[in-house]
């Protein structure tokens, strides 16, 4: 297809615009992922191992929030950051920071809910031993995260996938402004709305290749570490 041909031409000729957009995509998603992981992994773990009234309800809400429509997240962040909103004075709307915020809100429930399930399985095995050794609170959370690290990478990759593929939220808070907040997905949406379907598909292929690369890196590191430790 000349769709892919065009996309590859852009890549091979190191098209500056394409690289700017790609780089912004990956930067926004990875920063959002990092921030979200710091929140969601301990949260999911903590909810798996503590017992308090309402805990099940919290997990239920996390699970339900996996189905939070990106457009709604976009709107909420938009209203928050808009000039008349509570954080309007920061002037963050239509900046990459705004997109990062939206993505963090979007993927935090996903990583938290998935890691909650992973840790809950491990908890069935470790619970009695940890109780017996008096391992609780922060120490327990850290130990669970360390010992479940291989299974957790899949949760994290799911979060990354959602972030990098996301368009509904970032287009509202980022605005898809050329040279400022245009990322791959919003560029694809734009080409689609222009009717340049083949170019849109080509860009999609480039984005997928990028996603493949990131996944290969993460999974490669995991396999390497697992092999080295043979634990």
């Amino acid at each position: 297809m000349n769709a892919l041909a065009e996309a590859f031409r852009l890549i091979i000729t190191l098209d500056a615009d394409l690289f700017e957009i790609l780089w912004l995509s990956i930067r926004v998603s990875l920063i959002a992922l990092a921030i979200s992981a710091v929140i969601s992994l301990p949260l999911g773990t903590w909810l798996a191992i503590t017992r308090f009234p309402g805990r099940k309800f919290c997990i239920l809400v996390l699970n339900a929030l996996m189905g939070m429509p990106p457009v709604v997240v976009g709107l909420m962040v938009y209203l928050l950051l808009s000039r008349s909103g509570p954080l309007g004075w920061m002037g963050l709307l239509y900046t990459p920071t705004a997109m990062i915020i939206a993505q963090v809100v979007l993927i935090t429930p996903i990583i938290a809910a998935l890691s909650n399930q992973v840790i809950e399985n491990l908890h069935q095995e470790y619970r009695d031993t940890f109780y017996s050794m008096g391992v609780t609170g922060r120490r327990a959370v850290v130990a669970y995260l360390v010992d479940a690290r291989y299974a957790l990478t899949t949760c994290i990759l799911a979060g990354f996938g959602r972030a990098i593929a996301e368009v509904g939220a970032v287009i509202i808070v980022g605005g898809n402004i050329d040279h400022l907040t245009r990322v791959m997905t919003t560029a694809i949406a734009l080409e689609t709305s222009k009717g340049n379907l083949s170019l849109a598909l080509g860009l999609g292929a480039v984005l997928l290749a990028l996603s493949l690369l990131v996944n290969a890196l993460v999974i490669g590191v995991r396999e390497y570490a697992a092999k080295r430790q043979y634990a």
């Binding site: 938009y78 000039r83 239509y94 509202i172 898809n176 050329d178 709305s193 222009k194």
Partner: protein, 252 residues
């Protein structure tokens, strides 16, 4: 297939029940940008086109994809900006001057940047004002690459200027402290056309219903229905199917 601005304005919600009552034809509206609408139709995914970018429409018909093109109605473009109007666009004598003022004062301008009819119109206006906005892309010239509504959302939030069709603006719900700062100049005329898709190129086209729909829109009762459509007490579209397009536009 139709352009977004008509969908966003709510025109179809007004027209479709009348159409169904009078002709029995039921129409599914797919609202996308003019560019996408035309290309979708070239793939035969649509029976009637309702768009606004005259040269593209004529090319579509010339290439044999459409049976014919008829003027349907028009409305006009307006420039939206913050009430404070830092670039003093309101006082400009004509469109060219308005755009030059925006450029000179360093105010921001949000463009659709999506090859839509509105966007093409806007590019033409910059060209006539002898300004190359691309040099400032990402700084003062913000290409949102989105539909009219999304671009208005962006412009309104940033206090930027936006070129919008009047219909979308009137029915737009998130005006905040922006308003129409410039309107009524002849170059802001916006003509909509209707094109039934050629059944010869696309055998799957629902030719009969398309014909009925197009004819109804162009008929007296269709035109009357368009003219009767109001939002917040304002008429959004002026039917002009029976006029020949002429350059003298009654200004508002």
């Amino acid at each position: 297939q139709s352009t977004t601005s008509t969908e966003n304005s709510g025109l179809y919600d007004h027209l479709m029940p009348i159409l169904e009552r009078e002709t029995g034809v039921k129409v599914n509206v797919v609202a996308v940008g003019t560019g996408q609408a035309i290309k979708n139709a070239m793939r035969c995914d649509g029976d009637v086109l309702l768009v606004h970018s005259r040269p593209d429409e004529e090319k579509f018909v010339a290439d044999g994809y459409g049976d014919y093109r008829r003027d349907l109605m028009y409305n006009d473009f307006v420039i939206i900006g913050p009430k404070a109007d830092p670039a003093r666009v309101a006082g400009a004598a004509n469109v060219t001057e308005a755009l030059q003022r925006i450029r000179e004062t360093g105010a921001r301008f949000a463009s659709r940047g999506d090859d839509s009819g509105t966007h093409k119109k806007e590019r033409l206006l910059w060209q006539e004002a002898a300004i190359d906005p691309d040099a400032g892309s990402g700084q003062w010239y913000l290409e949102t690459g989105s539909g009219m509504g999304a671009t208005l959302n962006t412009g309104v939030s940033l206090g930027a200027y936006v070129l919008s069709d009047r219909a979308t603006w009137i029915s737009f719900g998130n005006k905040q402290d922006s308003t129409i700062v410039f309107e009524g100049a002849p170059p802001l005329f916006n003509q909509y056309g209707v094109i039934p898709v050629n059944a010869g190129k696309c055998p799957t086209v629902n030719r009969e219903a398309a014909e009925i729909f197009a004819n109804w829109l162009l008929s007296e009762s269709g035109q009357a229905a368009i003219g009767a459509y109001q939002v917040k007490g304002k008429q959004l579209f002026v039917p002009n199917a029976n006029h020949k397009l002429n350059s003298s536009i009654e200004s508002k």
